[in-house]
């Protein structure tokens, strides 16, 4: 009987409700699914970018070749895994261009067949093969070398087969000091350059097609355990560049949050509409109960019904996601600037379904519990039917599921928890707010005239005071809805700001500029129409004492396994490069302490020192600490005056330690400078001329790397934008439904008021005031709390600096307000047409 009632009769009688339920759930799930799909795509494209930088899936490298037993260990791990590999050896060498007998330093990339696994080496003409010598465009230009000419490399001479115009590989870490040439390893071995006593980078690259991220992590651990020598490193693509790694992290986390938001919005919708529906059905359920249906059976029937609904939703999602994706793909590809795949796998998505079912069922549980608590016999007798109240503890199963799901989806205990507790905060604040407001209004308005400003306003206030449960529900739904919308928008804004690379992107770093060379160099560059930027002095020093106590160093033991450990050891052991600077650079921001004083003639005191925030943390330094530096034999006292934050997106030279001007000017120093992006021709000319006159000045070419990172940033920004809007659309739909429903529920009240003499205009005014007030309050709270949570998540999990994006504050509020107004007007249109005669008994 249960099946007949709940699966057939009920659904047949109220098709619209079930369609609505299906619609909302589908919306939430399709939202989740699409975000999932898009984010998988984006991530894999970014992964691919990162892989291009590394040229392979995993690399084992060292500054020397692997010893025999190390090679054995390597084989023991990898032989059982289907893979491809090549060896890559990078060495510096002086090579000679035969035609003019000029020698210069180059980086020789010795490669084996297969290089590169990812990315490509593009020649000006022809195809890159492992046949012989290729030189980079830079070298060709600097040297005026051309195809066919001969280069003496070591003991052998080689003809230049081609000129490389694009090389997607960047090198393991660090930048290239000299332009590159490419020569097959077997050829390099004949040059005599690879002998005992050579230094270079020796890398074993692997391509493992079947492996996924997690597998690589495990492989890395395995390799590190079998290759204990600190000299050996194992690198994965995302470690190739700090920037790309970080971008991908941000993107993934943000995407999962958006997906969660979209889903919760739809759950809110479900709860709201299901509750109204239950109230409508209560009388009939009481009748069923009267005719023998047990409460337990009733519950089971409802759960079963929901299972059916959910199954339908799942089918809809599975069937529609592909066509939907195909339809949106061109638009998405264009917006994201990524060529999205034409198909994708649904496997991972299907895993979500049972979890989603549990989650959505759990939000209905409080309603079911309330239903179970209803004394059905009593209900039938009374004129007024009311659903048993649900208690707050009825929500515990849902809350647990939600918390768990948030953590699961974001893969982070921190983010998931922050999000969850953020929502709890919204709930708490909204409830407190609405209850307090109701109490206050009740106190003031009870027994008073109905007219307040006007009658409609007075009625709206009474509605506020007396709506009780349903008002709180709507308010909460609105508040949570707007919070989530605001959260996504603000987080979007905060992250996007981080993803903006400075306009100033360097193409070359210059270093070892001697003091006396600086002016002439600047003059030379100006003459060439080139502006040198970021000219910074660099002074070598050692941190000797902190607060009078000798600064102790970290033991150089076998504990230095992670990159962080190494960096830390380096920090504590070696000297520091200091600079002196009055103001913060555009990439820096004061986070604690005070700025340097404008000028000081008091040279007797210690110099004020500014430290980079994380550096200070690693070194255990605090504000006010007295630090002693040994600057090439001379001791200089310093006091830590402030901490700075340096933007991770800046590629300009930034120092861990800035000393205030006036103390270090006399010390021996060299200068760094940056050449911003300019056209290749001028860049080459500049390099040539500089080397001619200032032969000790060296260059590091970063143009290509930065170009690539800039591209990744741009794509990420766009992806985030698209995903935000996906979540938001769900939010808008739900809020629209809510507003519509609320208005429509007033049907009989409105009919009554018409009977009493209210005109259509007056009724509309009443509705607008009532919902306008409700909505404004809810949205102001929602937007503010959403911003707050965004800042919390942003700073705690994403390490973003907080700020408020007013544009993303007001514009959406405005948009939502208009939506709300339009909804109210539209819904009220029908409701206001309510016929008073329907109030009569015969109707």
């Amino acid at each position: 009987m249960i099946y007949k009632i709940f699966l057939i009769k009920e659904i047949k009688k109220y098709p619209l409700f079930y369609l609505l339920l299906i619609f909302i759930l589908s919306l939430g799930m399709i939202g989740l699914a699409s975000i999932n799909v898009v984010s998988q795509q984006v991530k894999s494209k970014l992964d691919a970018n990162a892989k291009e930088l590394l040229t392979s899936d995993i690399v084992v490298s060292a500054r020397r070749d692997l010893l025999d037993d190390e090679k054995k260990s390597l084989r023991s791990v990898l032989d059982s895994i289907p893979h491809k590999s090549y060896k890559l050896i990078d060495i510096y060498s002086m090579v000679r261009l035969e035609k003019n007998a000029q020698t210069r330093l180059v980086e020789i990339r010795s490669f084996e067949q297969g290089f590169p696994f990812y990315g490509a080496i593009t020649l000006a003409n022809g195809k890159f093969e492992s046949q012989g010598l290729y030189i980079s465009q830079d070298l060709a230009r600097l040297w005026g070398a051309a195809v066919g000419e001969e280069l003496k490399v070591g003991e052998k001479k080689f003809k230049i087969l081609g000129i490389v115009i694009k090389d997607s590989s960047q090198g393991l870490r660090g930048f290239s000091l000299a332009p590159r040439i490419y020569l097959p390893l077997r050829d390099v071995e004949t040059t005599g350059l690879l002998r005992p006593g050579s230094t270079g980078s020796f890398a074993y690259h692997y391509l493992i097609p079947k492996f996924r991220d997690k597998d690589f992590e495990i492989l890395k651990k395995d390799l590190l355990s079998k290759l204990p020598d600190l000299a050996l490193k194992v690198t994965l693509p995302k470690e190739g560049s700090e920037q790309t790694g970080r971008v991908m992290e941000y993107l993934t986390d943000f995407m999962s949050l958006s997906a969660l938001v979209g889903l919760i919005l739809s759950l809110v919708g479900i709860f709201y509409f299901y509750q109204s529906h239950l109230v409508t059905r209560l009388k009939d359920f009481c009748l069923y109960h009267l005719f023998g249906l047990q409460k337990g059976e009733l519950l089971w029937g409802l759960i079963l019904q929901f299972l059916v609904v959910f199954t339908v939703v799942s089918l809809i999602v599975i069937l529609s996601i592909n066509p939907l994706y195909s339809f949106l793909r061109p638009y998405l590809s264009q917006t994201l600037g990524i060529d999205l795949n034409s198909t994708f796998k649904l496997n991972s998505l299907i895993l979500y379904f049972p979890i989603l079912f549990t989650l959505s069922l759990s939000i209905l549980m409080p309603l079911f519990f309330g239903l179970m608590r209803t004394s059905m016999g009593v209900q039938l007798k009374s004129a007024k039917i009311s659903l048993g109240k649900f208690q707050y503890y009825d929500f515990i199963p849902f809350l647990i599921c939600l918390w768990g799901f948030a953590i699961f989806l974001s893969h982070s205990l921190k983010i998931g928890s922050l999000f969850f507790w953020g929502l709890m905060l919204v709930f708490g604040v909204s409830t407190f707010f609405i209850k307090s407001l109701q109490w206050l209004l009740k106190k003031y308005f009870t027994g008073k005239e109905l007219v307040f400003i006007n009658l409609e306003f007075g009625l709206a206030i009474r509605s506020f005071i007396h709506s009780g449960h349903s008002l709180t529900m709507s308010f909460l739904s609105l508040a949570i809805g707007t919070t989530l919308i605001s959260l996504i928008l603000q987080l979007d804004g905060l992250i996007q700001k981080e993803f903006v690379l400075d306009e100033k992107k360097p193409s070359l770093f210059l270093f070892d500029i001697q003091e006396e060379q600086l002016d002439p160099l600047v003059k030379l560059s100006t003459k060439m129409g080139v502006t040198l930027e970021g000219i910074t002095p660099m002074i070598r020093a050692r941190l000797e004492k902190v607060n009078g106590v000798p600064f102790n160093r970290v033991e150089e033991s076998g504990n230095l396994r992670t990159r962080e450990d190494e960096v830390e050891a380096r920090m504590k052991n070696r000297g520091i490069n200091l600079t002196y600077r009055k103001n913060l650079s555009s990439a820096e921001r004061l986070v604690d302490g005070e700025e340097f004083p404008i000028s000081s003639n008091d040279k007797e005191r210690a110099a004020f020192v500014s430290l980079e925030k994380r550096f200070a943390q690693r070194m255990g330094l605090k504000l006010g600490d007295k630090v002693s530096f040994d600057i090439q034999g001379v001791e200089i006292e310093g006091i830590v005056k402030n901490f700075r934050e340096v933007k991770w997106t800046s590629f300009y030279p930034n120092f861990f330690v800035n000393v205030e001007p006036g103390f270090l000017e006399e010390a021996p120093k060299t200068f760094l400078a940056v050449l911003p992006q300019i056209d290749e021709k001028r860049k080459t000319l500049f390099q040539r001329s500089t080397v001619e006159i200032f032969s000790n000045v060296s260059f590091i070419d970063v143009g290509e790397l930065i170009g690539k990172i800039s591209d990744i940033f741009k794509k990420s920004r766009q992806a985030i934008e698209v995903i935000s809007w996906l979540s938001l659309s769900i939010g808008f739909v739900i809020l629209y439904g809510l507003a519509h429903d609320q208005v429509y529920r007033r049907y009989y009240d409105l009919a009554l008021m018409k009977t009493l003499g209210f005109g259509a205009l007056s009724l509309r005014k009443y509705l607008l005031i009532e919902f306008g007030l409700l909505f404004s309050l809810a949205s102001v709270i929602g937007f503010f709390l959403g911003w707050l949570i965004a800042v919390l998540i942003g700073s705690e999990a994403f390490k973003l600096s907080w700020s408020i994006d007013w544009g993303k504050f007001f514009f959406p509020i405005l948009l939502l307000s208009i939506l709300c107004l339009v909804t109210i007007l539209a819904s009220s249109w029908r409701a206001i047409k309510a016929k008073p005669r329907e109030l009569l008994s015969g109707s």
Binding site: M94, T103, L105, V153, G192, E515, R574, G575
Partner: protein, 196 residues
């Protein structure tokens, strides 16, 4: 009589009290090591056993080339060094800078030191094999010819017995570790003794 003896003893000490300046790069500075572990400090320790008032100035700056030599020497002249151990040039070589310029720079340093009556020990370096024989030979020759020109003692290779040995170097394969520095200290000390 007592006074004269005392004076003579004091003078003999004073005669041996030396300030030694080590003007070099990361090898001198003791890259990634504490100052006490770098070879100049080790030498100081040794010398102090015999000459308690020996002072050693570690003028090593990682990444320094010969171009910075003269300026930095000027900075250290304030400390009135008696001996200078000139160990610059590695970075010039590693960066493939023009050797004629490197030679010129080193000459300036030597001349300036000589003008201030400072004894000089010139420390030579060798380039890794991957730099090619021609260059390596020219690089080595640089120090030899300078030593000859200015008639100053030459320690041919700072990393004698250390270079290329994984156990004596840091993971980067270029900079010696604590054990490596101990050997460097011995090498340099041996070359220094005649100057003391």
């Amino acid at each position: 009589m007592k006074l004269v003896t005392l004076l003579m003893i004091l003078m003999s000490f004073a005669a041996h009290a030396k300030t030694i300046l080590f003007l070099g790069d990361s090898l001198t500075e003791g890259y990634q090591l504490s100052r006490e572990e770098a070879f100049p400090a080790l030498i100081e320790q040794e010398l102090k056993k015999v000459f308690p008032s020996t002072k050693v100035i570690n003028g090593g700056v990682s990444g320094a080339t010969t171009a910075s030599g003269v300026k930095r020497l000027g900075w250290y002249l304030k400390s009135k060094p008696d001996i200078i151990v000139l160990a610059l040039g590695s970075n010039d070589g590693l960066r493939g800078l023009r050797l004629e310029q490197s030679e010129k720079n080193l000459s300036e340093v030597i001349e300036k030191a000589k003008a201030s009556d400072i004894k000089i020990l010139l420390v030579g370096m060798k380039m890794p094999t991957n730099y090619g024989e021609t260059y390596r030979k020219s690089f080595e020759k640089l120090f030899v010819s300078l030593a000859k020109k200015y008639k100053i003692p030459l320690l041919p290779f700072l990393l004698e017995g250390v270079g290329g040995k994984p156990k004596l170097n840091l993971p980067d394969g270029i900079h010696p570790n604590t054990a490596g520095h101990k050997i460097m200290a011995q090498t340099v000390l041996k070359a220094l003794r005649p100057l003391l």
